[in-house]
Symmetry: C2
Subunit: 447 residues, 2 copies
């Protein structure tokens, strides 16, 4: 493997920008068209289309779609106690971090007789997409299922493509993690067709209000398309390839730094890996470690491809390293420096930050308690990490008493007239007139 | 005007659904293409493109783009004290309701030595789009500007098309409302070109992270397009025509009900107006009032067009009226019934609820304190009313102590191995090995 260290200060603005530019992730028109057709087929043909696509894409014969309770019990029974315990610990930590996020309704009187409320209501029905592929992802089940459970969504549906196509089965880890989150409505279904089924419903699968979870290009495109239709479903956030940026100084252990970069690189060939340091020695030693550790990995080929696009950036100091990170706006940001708390104050635009030598990204990916569903691809500058709030809708309630209307009414009339909206003004002045009439009558009734 | 009362119980499911169906709001391909070209022109030509489009669409000659401080002062000086006071009262109420929403950072130890934080950070730069057109909308300035000010966004930019094209001026009300919110960066610019300038920046206008505010079809489409580009900008919410649903029983005053329906209808010919009631008398009396009040309105023609698509629905009882509302998922929901608090508990899927005889929609549109930027077109079932939260990004921070790593590490390794991600496991086991070595050394050093 060839690595190149870029010296930030020796680059002009354009070259600096180019260095941090992410590769363009344009969905091809043919992919968009294919997804559009899959969605249309599911909307018009329902389950029949799901069966056809499952056979075509997942080689799944005569799919019963819904995973029966018996199958769920059988799969859970097959899991080792050791793995069950590990999933339980992750569940417990994720649950306690998200339970601390339960929102409080707000009720205030903005002026006498004018009461305003901001209320939170759990989304009624949510769909969780859990990718299948080479390995099962019980951690994603927990990251989506725990907040859905805590918010109290009335219906939580999980879809995931089959792990072993012949058996039509889902991985036991996924089913067990789902059971901890109280999820029993599970479908062996993946791809754009699963997203379409969740968004519009079929004979078997009821439609949901919002779809959460990561997926491949087809899933991503399908989520995008259904979210742009009011009759479809909302989605959690825009998607992009996973990425990490590490800031390390010469107190950092290159073994740890290299391992952290590799744990990002092994995700996929399009994973983004960036190391920023004011220490040339740390950069050089990390490169040696990267070569040594990569050789040991079963997924070395994937990691190598990702590393070939990695960025190793030498900065004059840590303050500049922070600026580089803020400009890149990473999904994951790892800080391994002597004064990590001081640096933390300078860092913006990162979705999840890992502080100190004993906080690898893997901790947050699995079990520290934070959510691993995060805005990536630069979206962290204007999108939020997934949290409990995403499983609620916020709405307002207001109530004006007669006195409140008497006091505030004239102001509303003035503003409505200034905007040329006479009916808005009338809705108030008719009420003020009625109140004035009432006042007169009760005055007249006085002895 | 012809009105027709639909009897909910006499309709089958399909007819009920059809009655509540909103008219299809499909952006034409030619509109999409036109907006795409405007965005491309602004990205490549910058200010020159803005000048050209302003001349073409807004008949604005030699536009200086930015409204000078002198012009701002002159405009503010031209405003009557009466109107200034009304805007101040609205500002005060909106501010106190949104100030109650300031989020608290969260920090918890999910297990000993594992510290997780959820932090809020104000969006750095935001752009506020305020529509121009027939009348200035200072209320929209307050609804967007107050939360931006409270959150503490570093840069807040306002764009709005010219009020009087010849003068190139913006309405004094808008400038005054902006000044209360601390906004001085104001551009005389509207349409898709304004959205493009905010999303990508030009020589004069710096790019922003997120764009807020309503607009016409071009603005809506441009917001949609830039939000799908990671290099563009995030947006507040999907758009649709404004709408109101009123639930009233025979205790309601038909004068008020009709006025509320009309204050929605006057917004535009595509406004949606729905009245649901178990009282046939109330429905009939409201129809008479609608005819009487419409005749008095300057915007009667617009209101009549909207009313021609209105829905008047007779239900067997209030519980069914609540079901109709929940199925429709209105932007604005007005309740004028004897037991309004009891009904409130049955209502879901509304973005802003107005309770009682003295709470017209106009109250929330202008001055009660709640935000009038709301999900419409059925989006209220899975999107939130605009609130202070939309002006922040949430991110997480975590820190594991050496002890925290020792305790949690083995769990992470197990989960990573179960998911086939060896580098993720290595990032932990290398740290555990180092800690074990340290422990051995310090043990060896003991006397």
């Amino acid at each position: 493997m060839q690595f190149q260290i870029s010296n930030w200060q020796q680059l002009d603005k354009t070259a600096q920008q180019a260095l941090l530019e992410r590769p363009l992730q344009q969905q091809s028109d043919s992919l968009k068209q294919a997804v559009k057709q899959i969605i249309r087929a599911v909307r018009t043909e329902g389950d029949a289309a799901l069966q056809r696509f499952s056979l075509e894409f997942d080689k799944l014969q005569s799919n019963p779609l819904r995973l029966s309770d018996e199958s769920q019990q059988r799969l859970i029974g097959s899991l080792s106690d050791e793995l069950k315990t590990a999933i339980q610990i992750a569940y417990r930590n994720i649950r306690s971090f998200h339970a601390a996020q339960v929102p409080q309704n707000i009720r205030i009187e903005t002026q006498p007789g004018v009461i305003c409320e901001l209320n939170y209501s759990a989304l009624d029905q949510v769909g969780l997409y859990v990718p299948g592929g080479s390995a099962p992802l019980p951690s994603t089940v927990l990251m989506l299922g725990v907040p859905a459970q805590l918010a109290g969504c009335r219906r939580v549906v999980l879809v995931t493509p089959p792990g072993q196509p012949e058996a039509g089965d889902i991985a036991a880890e996924i089913v067990y993690a789902a059971s901890l989150c109280g999820i029993t409505e599970i479908y062996t279904l993946g791809g754009a067709q699963a997203v379409a089924a969740l968004a519009y419903g079929t004979e078997t699968i009821g439609k949901v209000d919002k779809i959460f979870g990561p997926g491949n290009r087809f899933v991503t495109e399908a989520k995008q398309q259904v979210s742009q239709d009011a009759r479809g479903a909302a989605i959690d956030m825009p998607a992009g390839p996973s990425e990490v940026l590490v800031i390390a100084d010469d107190t950092a252990n290159p073994v740890f730094v290299a391992a952290d970069l590799l744990s990002q690189a092994e995700h996929g060939p399009d994973s983004q890996v960036v190391l920023v340091s004011p220490s040339e020695a740390l950069l050089v030693n990390t490169i040696s470690e990267l070569t040594r550790q990569t050789a040991l990995l079963p997924r070395a080929e994937i990691a190598k491809k990702a590393l070939s696009n990695s960025r190793l950036i030498l900065t004059p100091d840590l303050a500049t390293a922070a600026l580089v990170s803020n400009q890149y706006a990473p999904e994951h940001l790892i800080i391994q420096t002597a004064d990590d708390q001081g640096l933390l104050g300078k860092l913006t635009n990162a979705a999840s930050i890992f502080v100190g030598p004993y906080t690898p990204e893997s901790a947050g990916d699995y079990a520290s308690g934070t959510n691993h569903v995060l805005p990536t691809y630069g979206y962290s500058r204007n999108h939020s990490s997934l949290s409990l709030a995403d499983f609620y809708r916020r709405y307002t309630v207001q109530h004006l008493t007669a006195d409140g209307m008497r006091d505030l009414g004239p102001t509303i009339v003035k503003l409505a007239k200034a905007e040329g909206l006479d009916a808005h003004a009338n809705a108030v002045s008719f009420r003020l007139a009625e109140l004035a009439l009432h006042a007169k009558i009760s005055e007249g009734n006085r002895p």
